[in-house]
Structure formats: C-alpha cells, structure tokens
Point group: C2
Chain length 341, copies 2
DNA sequence: TTGAAAGCGCTAACAC
DNA sequence: GTGTTAGCGCTTTCAA
C-alpha cells in the first residue's frame, strides 16, 4: 500500500485547511463553489486518495460492508457480487465476503463473530440466509444495518426482490397455454421462502385455469442438480406428468439429465422449465425455458440501500415497508416448446 | 462496526503495557511464556479484537489483499475465492475483489488505479490476467507483491499451478487408449498460456503414439460455451473426428450441445472430453470426462504465498524459481466411454 | 524481556 | 463558509 500524498499535502497545495479538504472529499455542504474547485484541482494535481484506514479510525467506521452467502449457485453469486462491488466502489466502500454453510451448527455465532471481526458497517444477506430468523434477530440486536436480497424475510427488514409468486404464475400459464394439464412441480427446501412463493404462484395459475392439483406430482428438492435428478426419477415413474416445473435451473437441469437417461424426448414427451436464467439454462440440451431476474442490478440496489441505511439517509420506520421490487422476464427456450435452441 | 474493547483495556486487565499486548497479538518474539498466557487470558476474557483500521494506520498497511479476475468461469472463481478467503481470514487479512474485462481498453490503468485506491498490500492474479505482461510490469514497478494462479506467467513471478501439459497429455492418452486416432482439438484463446500448454500436451501424446496431427481438426475457441459450440459445428461438418478434446469444460459442453443438434450419439459416434471439472461437467448429458484441479487448495496456497511475500518471510530472489505445482486427476465419465453416468 | 512516547492520516466537535 | 484542536487504536522507535 503505497500512500504518500496526504490530506495535509492537498490542503497546502490548495491553500486551505485540512478540514476543508475533508469536506470536499466527503461531499459535505458548506463549501463555496470556488473553494471546492481549488481543492478538487489540488486533489487531481497530486493524485490524492484518502487513506481508508485513517478515515475508518477517525470516523469509527470500517468503510466495509459484508455479504453473507451460502454457495448455492456460483453464477447467481458472481453476478450479485459484481453488482454490489460496483456500487460499493463508487461510494469508496469495500465489500467483505462471508461464505457459510446454511446447515452448519453454530451458524449464527459464526456470522456474528465474523461481523465483529471484520468490523463491517452493514450486512447484505442472500438466500437462504435471509430466512434464518435467529440471525436476523442477532444482527438487529447488535445494531447492524441489514438488507435482504431476493427474499422478503419477516418483519421490517429492507429487501430487494422480484415478484416470485407472479413469475411462477406466469411460467405455469405458459405451460397451460401449451396444452399441459398434468404438470409436475419440484419445490425447493421448505425453509427457503422462495420455495413457498414459487409454489404459490404455481398453484394460483392452476386454480385460475380450473385445473385440479395432483399431490403425487409435487415433490421436494434441495435446489441443486442432484436433488432435481432424484425428484425427476420419482415423477417419471409409472403414470407421469407431461410437463415439469422445477423451482430453479439447477434442478431443472437434473430433470433433463434424468429424462435423457430414461430416453424421454424433450420437449415432445416432456416439457421442462426452470427458474433463474443461470448460464446452465442455456448450456444443457435442450436449452431451458426459465425466468430471468436482473441479478446484477439487484446487487447494485441492495448495496446502495445498505449504504444509505448506514449513512442514515434512509431510516427504517415502524410501519413503513422497504421492499423494492424488480422486474423479471419469461425466457421461452427449447425445453418447453420446439424452437431452434 | 461496534468496537468497544481496546488494546488499553486488555493491557490494564493483564497488568502489562499495550506494547506487550501488541506483541502477543502479532506473534512477535521476546515475550515470556508467562506474560503471553496472561495476555491471552485477558484477550479471551474481554473478547478483544484488534481494530483493523488502527492497525493499518499505524502499521502503514491495509491488511487487505486483492484478487483481480475476469469473470470467465463463476464456478472456478467462487471456489478459488473461498480458498483465498479462508487463508486470509486465518491471518486476519481481508480479500478485496477487482473484477475486470480482459479485453477492455485501459485495463492496466484500471487495475493500477484500483490498487492505489483500495490500498491492497498485494495482488493475486488469475487467468487470463496472469498473461498480461504490461500489467505484471506495472505492478512490479509499483512495488506490489504479486502471486499468479494457474499460470506460469513470464519471468520470476511466484505462481501456483498444475502441470497443464502433462494433464492434457494424459487426457489425450485416455482417448488413444479407447482406440481413437482421429481426434479433434479445440484450443483456447492464443493469448492464454493455458491454451498453449494444453495444446502442447495434446501434441506430445499424439507424437508419442505415432499419430500424425491433422491440422483441419484443430480449431480455436474463446473458452466459453458459445465458442465451443461454433468450433464443434466446424469440426463436425463433412469428414469428422471420432473424438473431440476441448480445452475446457464450457467449450466441451458447447460441443455436446452442437452434437445433440446434429443428432450425433455421444459417446458412440463421438467422444467428447473437457478440462477443469467444473460443475457443468456433471450437469450436461452425458457427463463430461475431464481433468480435476484442486482449485480451492490452490486458492489457499496462493494467498498464503502472497502473505508471506508481504511479510517478507519469503523473498523472490534472482534465479530462484517460485513455482508450486499441485496434483490433478483424470475424471472419466460418460462422454468418452459408456458408463452409468 | 518489557515499557514510554510519538505519531500514522483522518474526522468530529466546536470555534470563528 | 472556514479553521483549530483533539483524539480514534494501534505500531514503531527507542530506551530501560
């Protein structure tokens, strides 16, 4: 870390006090246009960059926000991370990573120890950690600002989401429009709120179309490839559905794998659809019909929200909702109807 | 960032000076066993965690190392990241991320600006950035310690790698052992050193088996799925090879996609193999024969090496080589020979 | 083997 | 609108 030019150098160069430089750097009010320009010029001329350690020490902050995640889907995560980094960087903040295993014992203690150790100013929570109520309580008690991604959570925690229920409903309507009435559904783990929402949307579409739901066609997976394959093996035994809606792409890819093994033609003998539009959806054969979420933008938004919370520019008030909904898109590909891909 | 207990509290509790506490925390020599124990007990009792900002300010370091990467393969990256984070965390260091696009103009300036701004104490470079000579020069000139991952680079830069040539050679021998003599090869981008090494291994195996190389069967891709598919379309037109070795899994998956479209049976009519053992290799149909690298462990090792370089426990001396080779593993699956997967 | 003093570069609180 | 002063919590330097 080669830092040489300090705030004193800039102040001297601009002929002002260090406090004024500090004001300009931190975009505070009460600096005349003229002074600001002088200081900016000095910063430019000297190529000055504030020392984060000194800022943090004096300001009692770390200029760091954390993301806690369970590595379920690398594609989802990397995209989310880049969105978050982009926003953090623009605000001279850093992003600290806390990878965990959702199922591990002592999860809450692990995360809280990390929060204390890394001294982050706030925390972004991704699914399924968004659904861990004890963790939310512990963070709240510790006074750490939190923003949830892709999940509503419980209570008043700010969140950046898509309308999962509506997305799943539209996906189901797509299958119904293709003539399917015998539709299998692979749920995610019960503990994930996304599992519930997607299943709800599925049920709503069926109900709307007057199609009775067949309990034997609904099974549960773990959101990963293997569990999708296993679930499909159960669904495809004996009398079977003509379409399967898997709650995410990884499981849908597992369904394709199982169908291939059984020699079932896709989409002629079986339509398969997923959710998330991860790269795997385009890399399997045939490509998966799925739902695209603007993940990177959601990462931007979540980080931005958290920074505002930290700066107390936005306050979480009792009774006010801080849920921000992003749009989604139905991507129709070869796994549900004959196309060129 | 709720930090309350400071080094003074610990010193008071243990009945020593703050310097002694500092010595214990930093594992310095010249502290008696008895004093050390007293201090450790106090740290434990008060649940003390050193303030990174203060450490950084006083010690003129950021306690941060950076990874620069182009998001080519999320799976590879997430695994590498977790390895690096693990090691960093154990050393009370943080990991800062710098995502870039290898092809962008002003890449070197971008990275150097980030290095100055984030004030990292050292940098880890992943492929293909390891092959960007101007960047290596700029980092060296700035006096920033660097470690390369998965690439030899040029000159004396420390690196953590696998023997790519040998791995590609063994993969090719596997195909030859299955009876193939007409083998197609999809290279990676010429600018990546991995592309060269893997191709070399391929050629070495053919030469060793007395098989002449057919120039028409060697094409170049960009290490991504789409380029693999396009390359396969070319290779599979007219007289075609009986096996295709793609230099990474993403391209191999693209080959499978193309073969499926053309109705070519895998592995009966065409054997396909990849490289990297990314999750996609198990998620396509049939599963891909590939080479597994211990990515996470390489992440550990690279971070560890960089920390030693920063602490000057290890020095890069002229004439000494600092290349550390990890083992690899040939994973045989259904895309090259009939198996159950 | 241990400690005292100085100061890293910045922000906060308050003065002007 | 601008400047002064006093630390933030630690490592460094030097002395004991």
């Amino acid at each position: 870390m080669a830092v040489s030019v300090t705030i004193d150098d800039v102040a001297a160069h601009a002929g002002v006090s260090i406090k004024t430089v500090s004001r300009v750097v931190n975009r505070e009010a009460n600096v005349s246009e003229k002074t600001r320009n002088k200081v900016m010029a000095a910063i430019e001329a000297l190529n000055y960059r504030p020392n984060q350690a000194a800022r943090g020490l004096a300001g009692r902050r770390s200029y760091l926000i954390g993301v806690v995640y369970d590595n379920i889907s690398p594609n989802y995560l990397i995209n989310l991370q880049s969105g978050m980094i982009e926003t953090c960087h623009a605000a001279s903040y850093g992003l600290a990573l806390c990878p965990v295993a959702y199922a591990e014992t002592g999860l809450v203690e692990h995360v809280m120890a990390w929060v204390r150790h890394s001294q982050v100013d706030g925390v972004l929570l991704t699914p399924p950690l968004t659904d861990c109520a004890p963790l939310l309580v512990a963070l709240e008690k510790a006074g750490v600002p939190v923003v949830l991604v892709s999940s509503l959570g419980a209570g008043q925690v700010p969140a950046v989401v898509i309308d999962e229920v509506e997305a799943a409903r539209q996906m189901t309507l797509h299958l119904i429009a293709l003539g399917h009435t015998e539709i299998g559904f692979i749920k995610g783990p019960a503990a994930h709120s996304a599992s519930q929402s997607r299943y709800e949307g599925f049920k709503a579409a069926l109900a709307g179309a007057g199609i009775a739901i067949n309990g034997a066609y609904v099974v549960e997976g773990r959101f990963d490839f293997d569990s999708g394959e296993i679930a499909a093996q159960r669904l495809l035994k004996g009398k079977r559905p003509t379409a399967i809606f898997a709650s995410n792409d990884d499981m849908a890819a597992g369904v394709l794998h199982a169908a291939h093994k059984l020699g079932i033609a896709i989409p002629e003998a079986l339509a398969v659809v997923g959710f998330d539009d991860t790269p795997i959806s385009r890399q399997v054969w045939p490509s998966l019909t799925t739902i695209r979420q603007p993940i990177r933008e959601m990462g931007n938004h979540a980080a931005d929200l958290l920074l505002q919370l930290i700066a107390k520019k936005v306050l979480v008030e009792d009774g006010s909702s801080m849920v921000f909904q992003h749009g989604f898109e139905l991507k129709v590909r070869g796994s549900s109807q004959k196309t060129s891909i």
